[in-house]
Symmetry: C2
Subunit: 372 residues, 2 copies
């Protein structure tokens, strides 16, 4: 077999304004190339400890079990479910977009009996709707997405939903993939049992790590399981053993990715997350005003519209996919199509982390104007 | 909650001579910082296609299903098993070290009935031993490790073992984590059904990706499953849909890691894998002669000793862990302790990919000499 020959790597410089990855922060880029450390090097273990503190700051939690898993946000989703669920468990999936449905699918693959309640794309749940579903059956856990990447909607009332779940004896798994680092995520105040995210959205790092945090209630359920977790790779007890004082070998974590994530988190901590959130919100408002002025209004009502991800209605007679392709090919700007039924109806425009800069918004609006 | 403050990232420059990660190739380091691409960017999809060709070259296969999974080598192990196994399936695990035992554990977590045959640490199986185990029961698959990272032994006769498995109607899963890129791995000639590896051993890249290849027999079994794979994250059909012509969204793969792996593979292809293997072997022989001269002889017989990973017997009266700590703290050289029962008996010295350079071997031998 002959060795294939390929040219030097020369990817184009994209301006990433899609639903993630966001742009990698230049400080993170430099951190990626720090000298590689072994996965049990005492110097790497110190970096983990700092990363944990930074993640606890962002998740607003004191949870001991706060790590970054060696996988993308979907691995965080799967870890939450595979660790909590045993075959036959009853799960209530509250679905207001694609990722809510993915949670339900993963729960079913783990052998759960899943009941679904669904909202049309672009809407969110009231506390009442979830409360009344919770009263119909005794569930082991409920799943819900905080920031739906498929619609750009923020599920409000998470604290109340969490209280309703706990009142009925159910745990709550919160998808914080697109919220963490972009809007407040208050794990302890909201009393969330497990939440997870991805390194590539608002954290300024490449994808490949999934921040996750598990509270005492979840930890108790996991420790009392009758059967081991079906996934060895995503077993949180193994993670606790590796990241905790025992530092027992589990897998060969990527020092490079951890260097990058720590730096991305440090950038946020230096600014202060509240300041970062206010800045992202102000930037998003500039985008929203610009879109409205252009006849491309945001799809989600202002009350629960997400600063990190805007869905905007495609004007009549416009081919959204052609515009998207031209933005990419002529301007190096990446945005995304709508998801599922919204495929031809909306664009998805992300302002995630380091992508959320005034110059990107001005350029994007000007480019879109030229194309419309 | 106050934002934690941590200093700039300044990890020490380690010379990585442990059981992986190997050192990251400087060309790979540069590739990591290429501009981030979205996971569906046509330019990234082109890079995947090249990466697949490079992986096929290294695996010596024409398998269509040849990808790099978004996880470490252990995710490759879990993917192989979770995709092939359904609850109740009979699995024969051939164990000649820690990673063989890990395969058995993961198969059990997937609900398989696992029979184990075991060799003492440092030994390998004869074809006869596996053949006679295969005759006792009808197995769906057998698992075996090509290069045991826990002992430094190469399991020889893989082609014959594979033929024996197929003759009894069983599939074969081969762990190629420490072999791929370090010694020949001939998937098609040996007729292997699934093999997997890790990006951080002999491929010169950081950890975080798991090359995997699945042949037509495995693909057929996966496509005819009665139940979906328990893991959504590691579902190979989803990978095939993402990497194949449909390019359907599955997860947000890390462009940075793929840039790095492609470059690491390209470095090997430029040299030619046979030339690289010969060079690694010659380097390992220098290490082995040096160790022998110092009274620290290799533990594994020459017939099946692995160039990428040497276990060496700790001399009497020497505290292996003190020596290891001094190598790290005084010389910045990482080697590892033995595994399990060999913990105090051997050191594990890796010469993986870019770590396998004459200057590293000379330095290591001189440093060890100073400490003994």
């Amino acid at each position: 077999m002959n060795a294939p020959k390929f040219s030097d790597l020369n990817p184009p410089s994209r301006i990433l304004l899609g639903p993630g990855p966001g742009m990698t922060h230049p400080r993170v880029m430099r951190a990626l190339t720090a000298p590689t450390l072994g996965h049990l090097d005492p110097e790497l273990l110190k970096i983990y400890a700092e990363e944990q503190d930074l993640l606890r700051y962002l998740f607003q939690t004191k949870n001991e079990w706060t790590f970054a898993l060696s996988g993308t946000g979907t691995s965080g989703m799967e870890a939450a479910l595979t660790n909590l669920i045993e075959p036959g468990d009853d799960v209530l999936s509250c679905i207001h977009g694609y990722f809510g449905a993915r949670l339900a699918e993963i729960a079913e693959r783990q052998g759960a009996q899943v009941d679904r309640i669904e909202k049309p794309l672009g809407q969110i749940f009231s506390v009442d709707e979830i409360e009344s579903a919770l009263k119909k059956k005794k569930y082991k856990l409920i799943t819900i997405v905080h920031a739906e990447t498929s619609t750009g909607a923020e599920q409000l009332h998470i604290k109340e939903i969490s209280a309703a779940a706990h009142q009925q004896g159910a745990l709550i798994v919160l998808d914080a993939v697109t919220s963490l680092g972009g809007i407040p995520v208050k794990i302890d105040e909201w009393d969330i049992d497990i939440a997870y995210s991805g390194s590539q959205k608002n954290l300024g790092a490449p994808s490949g790590l999934a921040p996750i945090t598990a509270g005492p209630r979840a930890k108790g359920v996991i420790e009392k399981r009758a059967k081991p977790v079906s996934s060895f790779y995503l077993d949180l007890k193994q993670y606790a053993n590796y990241w905790g004082n025992a530092h027992g070998y589990h897998h060969t974590a990527s020092a490079s990715l951890h260097f990058g994530l720590r730096e991305g988190l440090r950038v946020i901590a230096e600014e202060g997350q509240e300041n970062a959130f206010a800045r992202y919100r102000a930037n998003a408002e500039i985008l929203w005003r610009g879109l409205e002025a252009m006849g491309v209004p945001p799809f989600i009502p202002i009350e629960y519209r997400l600063p990190p991800l805007t869905t905007a209605k495609v004007p009549k007679g416009c081919d959204p996919h052609k515009v998207r392709a031209r933005l990419l090919n002529e301007y190096n700007i990446e945005i995304a199509a709508g998801f599922g039924a919204l495929k031809d109806e909306v664009w998805r425009i992300g302002l995630m982390g380091y992508s959320s800069r005034r110059e990107n918004i001005t350029l994007f609006l000007a480019a879109l104007q030229e194309l419309l």
